[in-house]
């Protein structure tokens, strides 16, 4: 198992280096003089330009700049925001928990609702439930997130007044950010009002972000179950006199989980894309919102560092999915 892990890590390294290279090139590809871009100023007099050039190391040959960049990365220096003067890495880790909290809730929502629906649809193949679920699933996967999010706000927040419109928690509460995860911090602070407020702020964004993964998970579960249910060993299980529920849950699901887990893992990328939109709509103070603002404010070091961090995250998650796959499928293990 360890050998498998090491092998997979080895395969990632070249990709990682290539990604850092692209990130490195970003500042130089963006319109405008790279020095002015880095400094965040325009119309800089020539003497200051030369100063800046030297300060940012832009008078070195390209390959040396790249190596310096790599060295910086390994020290955890991803640059500084032009706007806030804050370290990009620091800002990222401050905002990241909000995005994780939202994403994790969305995935949980997608899996806890989508999987059972998919299993039932497979078992009741061809029924009204099956067609209905597949119809809803396709519709869910076709929704433009901005529209879906804003409509939900319109209906549930504005018309019914059940949920808040934006943010993570009502302004009435101040919660000490211990972990950065609002739900955990609220629970830690023992403030029931805050907990309800945090939860109610989470509901709509979770549903909006989780809709597309829900559709994908339901569909994948259904098709994986259909395939597994037609396998020989399911017939053997029935020939042993086992009940329908046991056959489905113990024998079939375990095998169907393998492709479904892979799909869930691959959803991370699309989840982050969705998070960008969802955070913008709900003014959710996470990484996605941060990146969009960075473009609007031309804060390119943030865009550069943030993109690199997210890409690294996706690579790590893919690695995690591989390992889980190896665990679930005994055939790969040895």
């Amino acid at each position: 198992m360890l050998r498998y892990l090491l092998r997979r890590i080895g395969m990632i390294v070249p990709t990682f280096v290539a990604v850092t290279f692209l990130s490195f090139m970003l500042i130089r590809l963006v319109p405008g003089d790279p020095i002015e871009v880095r400094a965040g100023e325009h119309g800089v007099p020539p003497e200051r330009l030369a100063e800046f050039r030297h300060q940012f190391g832009l008078d070195q040959p390209l390959w040396k700049q790249f190596l310096d960049y790599e060295a910086q990365l390994l020290h955890g220096d991803l640059g500084t925001s032009i706007v806030t003067q804050d370290s990009v890495l620091h800002a990222f880790f401050q905002l990241f928990p909000a995005t994780i909290e939202l994403s994790v809730c969305a995935i949980l929502f997608a899996v806890l609702v989508g999987m059972p629906l998919g299993v039932i649809a497979a078992v009741k193949r061809g029924s009204g439930f099956d067609y209905g679920l597949m119809g809803i699933s396709v519709t869910g996967a076709s929704m433009p997130i901005p529209w879906w999010g804003l409509m939900m706000i319109l209906i549930f927040s504005v018309a019914f007044g059940w949920t808040p419109v934006s943010g993570r928690i009502s302004d009435a509460y101040f919660i000490e950010p211990v972990t950065g995860f609002m739900l955990i911090d609220c629970w830690w602070s023992d403030d029931a009002g805050a907990c309800t407020s945090a939860a109610s702020h989470l509901i709509l964004p979770t549903i909006v972000l989780g809709t597309i993964p829900l559709a994908v998970v339901a569909r994948m579960t259904r098709s994986a179950m259909l395939e597994v249910l037609s396998e020989d060993y399911i017939r053997t299980a029935r020939a042993k006199g086992l009940g329908g529920a046991r056959v489905v849950v113990v024998h079939a699901l375990r095998n169907a989980l393998i492709p479904v887990v892979t799909v869930i893992g691959l959803q991370v990328g699309s989840l982050l894309s969705g998070a960008i939109l969802t955070e913008t709509i709900f003014s959710w103070p996470g990484v996605g919102h941060w990146l969009i603002e960075s473009i609007q404010r031309r804060d390119y070091p943030v865009l550069q560092g943030g993109t690199l961090l997210i890409a690294t995250l996706v690579m790590l998650v893919n690695l995690g999915v591989d390992m889980t796959y190896g665990f679930l499928n005994p055939r790969i293990r040895r």
Binding site: E231, D232, Y233, R235, T236, A237, R238, A239, K240, G241, L242, G243, G244, H251, R254, N255, L328, N329, P330, R331, R334
Partner: protein
Amino acid sequence: MPLLEIRNLSVEFPTARGVFRAVDGLEMTLDTGEILGVVGESGSGKSVTMLAVMGLIPYPGRVRADVMRFDGADLLGLSPRQRRALVGKDIAMVFQEPMTSLNPCYTVGWQIGESLRAHNAVPKSEVRGRVIDLFRQVGIPAPETRLRAFPHQLSGGMNQRVMIAMAISCNPRLLIADEPTTALDVTIQKQILDLLISLQRERGMALALITHDMGVVAETAHRVQVMYAGQMVEEQRTDALFAGPRHPYTAALLDALPERAVGHARLPTIPGTVPGIDDRPAGCLFNPRCRFATERCVAEAPPLAGAAGARARCHYPLAAPVAVPA
């Protein structure tokens, strides 16, 4: 009273091109301790018959019969719970493909144990001991270590032994073996067959052995049923069948055996193909391929003719051994 009694069984599958009759008007009886060989080509319906007995016909198949009784109990009228109590316990089945018939995610020991636990055959504490004992009975060496093996770590022969162990774990009265050796190496085939026979003798089980290999049947079965295109076309005691087949199809099958074609220049074959869904003859199903077919055969479906225990579905059952023209 026979252990298994079937009269006029039919199994149909609706398809895009019409209804397909996999089994048509089948009769079968099996007594305790008897070995019945069920022989036929691929597509003759022999597996489907046994799946129908087990209640394993998948949707959208339909099973109908005048009589389908096991030990006096009507199989068709069973509630799902009653059926589950019977299947895997009193009636057990061994399938053809051992490599795909076991769940790849669980150890073989666990899968056999599941059978024991599901039917409460032994107290929980004794399950492990019983599984080891079963492994020993089916000839799996080093049973204690094999318990934790996964199916993909075992060979085809080993997996088939595991399947057999699983099937006999709750001491079934009837064991159905659906082509148990077809997917195995020739050297292993004999071992598995011998195992089945010895288990049958020790436990006094009835054994329904499905195969397309006449040679296997000759050595092991007490009685033989020959199936063609979903129908039973002949039923006799083994020695009588081999000495004097009554149906032309059986005769042709026997003639195609290399052992019996000594002295001929060519191995005789049966011209034509098994009827599918589109080209089922109105009269006798075998008539397009039969040497002896007459107009009566084309027009009229033959009933089962002959004395009990030696019957053939033919208008002109063969009386004496037929010699193949050289």
